[in-house]
Amino acid sequence: MISTLEEKPHIPAAPRKRKMPGWAVAMLGVAGAIALLSITSMQTGFPQLTSSGTTQTAVRLALPILLAGLGGLWAERAGVVNIGLEGMMIMGTWGAAWAGYQWGPWAALVAAVVFGSLGGLLHAIATVTFGVNHIVSGVAINLLGAGLTKYLSTLIFLPLSNNPRQSPPVQSFDTFSAAGLGDWLGELEAGQRLFISDVAGILRGLVTGVSPLTMIAILLLPLSYYLLWRTRFGLRLRSVGENPHAADSLGVKVYFHKYVAVIVSGGLAGLGGAALVLNPGQLSYLEGQTGGRGYIGLAAMIFGNWRPGGLLGGAALFGYADGLQLRSGGETVLALVYGVVILLAAIVVWQLIRQRWFSAASAIVVAVLMYLLYISLDEIPGEFVSYAPHMVTLAVLAVASQRLRMPAADGLVYRRG
């Protein structure tokens, strides 16, 4: 007993560099990303890279990914892998459209959350109570979610819209824009000055056409962080994901916390579905609308190392790539390849300073390959651009999977002893 008491103070005394606080790292990252984009847009001559239109589209496309990713975060922090996010999202789109065309957008949000949560409840029953393999249950829920919505659409939407694959139009939210600020930023953006115009463009995109759903989604991120990392409930929930046996022995209700986490996860995924239905460009349920965004949300969460901040970064990156392609096509996305080359050059310098020769050499090789790609192509074929998130995820996993840390008991079936 005494020896352990004596040993304890030694651990923090070990020589460790003081790390920067998380918010500082995040600010540096954002500033770096904007600087990179601004240099790229100057060198390649594509001001669309940081235009307000692109940002606005990117935000809209990032929302479903962000919400699905948050759903994944809740479930996996409690140790339940949720491949079923896609199915829950599909159920959310149907619920949003069903309630939305009758009672307006707020009802759509509520219904989407309810439908998504039902999917989550099913996943919880299968994985927590019955101990079914999480992947298996998730795949089954994806099948079930797609089937259920197809059936319900044929039953309910077909008489109304004459199309079994589409719902009647849904009323959208009124959007807000910070008018005065937006105009001022618009002037700055039109000025085409390095960095300042780029920042103005991005900010203008962020404050124009903001819907209540955008605000809710963005508030849900700090809220989730607060609940999961700063409350007693969150500590218990995460302890269930790290070591359920230890948590149980301390009196934490393992099953209860897992149930709550997975149901919340489904609700968030459903809300992500609502974000798709209430997207101003579309405003109805469409079969196959989710297009694998549930999976992309999961990928964004892994990209973010099971943390809310990283998840936001992942969702922003994936939404941005998608939005850029939608607004300005494959040529501008090719400009991003140029940006990656610049980024890799910076990494090479950094690795050389740290005398990591192997990493530096491999970064040089990748940079050269990317540069050759950039000068040999006229544009990235549109077929591939939509799958940029998939490629980024594979690359990130390949490079960083050793440094990513998922909850220790993630995906393991726990049975009360």
Partner: protein, 357 residues
């Protein structure tokens, strides 16, 4: 006897449960479940339905075999969907651009498809072995990329050509087709079904009679015990994944060689995910998978009759989904029940031994 009951009871329970569930759903939506199920069963004898069911059983069977190889060692190859898509487009492009004698041409297409499927599976396999990347997430990403790649390859300025409203690859010449068995008005059965049966037999032999199969199953039961017994787990992951991908590459061949002869926008998607469900239904056993594939195909095809009695045919998708979910739950419940009774039995015997000593 008890052993067999443990294997057959769960799927039977699951099917009954799903029928009840869908029956309730039908009643709620104002339809008569008995007439709906009756229409599904009687549909089998009409027109080409029976042969259609057989054809699609063959396709699902191959898909489920591909998934099952991975499942045997707890390797979740969610990427079968992408692997067969890539294999289909590559096989169609190669098959349509070469000229070879009849038979050899077909064989070359089959080999190309298997290699393409294995190559697409090799990426997540290598990532897993060298970088420790979880195969579930990487294969899901590869599925997305496969859709992009196939859409790119059939672009008109790449390998595609415009025929009517449809973009497709060049048609495979007749020397590369695989003849089927014609039943006149009842349709034509794919010749590839015999290949599917051969694959099933090969799978059974590999799993039960070869060292590789033993090592595969051992890795699935306990990877630590297997590696202690000298099984190279990295090699096993690599080989199992490549094999799974190679079989996945064959999934689209019945349609490609026997009916379509080209890869077009009408490509049948989603078979890979059905394959996962069927492998679960059949518990990775070649016989069980055959039954699962037959059930799946029956639900798919006979569902068409539901429109005639005024029921949306999508109810069969719900039925399929609920069968899968309830079957895995049922297997788990039965497994726990058997485990508990085993423990009681062992406890009882140990108790008597202890009493005698």
């Amino acid at each position: 006897m008890g052993h067999l009951r443990g294997k057959l009871l769960p799927p039977a329970l699951a099917i009954v449960f799903s029928l009840l569930l869908c029956g309730v759903a039908l009643i709620i939506s104002g339809a008569n479940p008995l007439s709906a199920f009756g229409a599904m069963v009687t549909q089998v004898g009409k027109g080409t339905t029976f042969v259609d069911i057989l054809n699609s059983t063959g396709i699902y069977y191959v898909a489920a075999l591909a998934v099952a190889i991975g499942f045997q060692m707890n390797l979740f190859n969610i990427g079968v969907e992408g692997q067969y898509r890539v294999a289909a487009v590559v096989a169609a492009v190669v098959g349509g651009s070469i000229a070879l004698p009849t038979g050899i041409h077909t064989l070359v297409i089959i080999i190309v498809a298997a290699i393409a499927g294995a190559a697409w599976a090799a990426i997540p396999a290598i990532l897993k072995v060298t970088r420790g990347v979880n195969e579930v997430i990487s294969t899901i990403m590869m599925n997305g990329l496969a859709i992009g790649l196939s859409a790119y390859l059939i672009r008109r300025d790449v390998f595609g050509e415009l025929r009517g409203n449809n973009i497709r690859t060049a048609e495979i010449p007749e020397s590369g087709w695989m003849p089927g068995i014609s039943f006149g008005g009842s349709g034509t059965m794919f010749g590839f079904i015999f290949v599917a049966i051969a694959l099933g037999i090969g799978y059974w032999i590999m799993m039960n009679k070869t060292r590789f199969g033993f090592e595969l199953r051992a890795s699935g039961e306990s990877s630590t015990a297997a590696s202690a017994g000298g099984v190279n787990s990295k090699k096993m992951v690599l080989v199992a994944m490549l094999l799974s991908g190679a079989i996945a590459g064959l999934i689209s061949l019945p349609e490609l060689l026997g009916r379509d002869h080209t890869f077009s926008l009408n490509f049948t998607a989603g078979i890979g995910f059905s394959g996962i469900a069927i492998a679960l239904l059949g518990r990775n056993h070649p016989g069980g998978i055959a039954f699962g594939a037959l059930l799946w195909a029956f639900l798919d095809k006979s569902g068409l009759a539901l429109d005639n009695v005024g029921v949306p045919r999508e109810i069969v998708t719900i039925m399929q989904g609920s069968i899968v979910l309830s079957v895995v739950v049922a297997y788990e419940v039965v497994r726990r029940f058997e485990l508990a009774s085993e423990q009681r039995r062992v406890g009882r015997e140990l108790g008597t031994v202890g009493g005698a000593a």
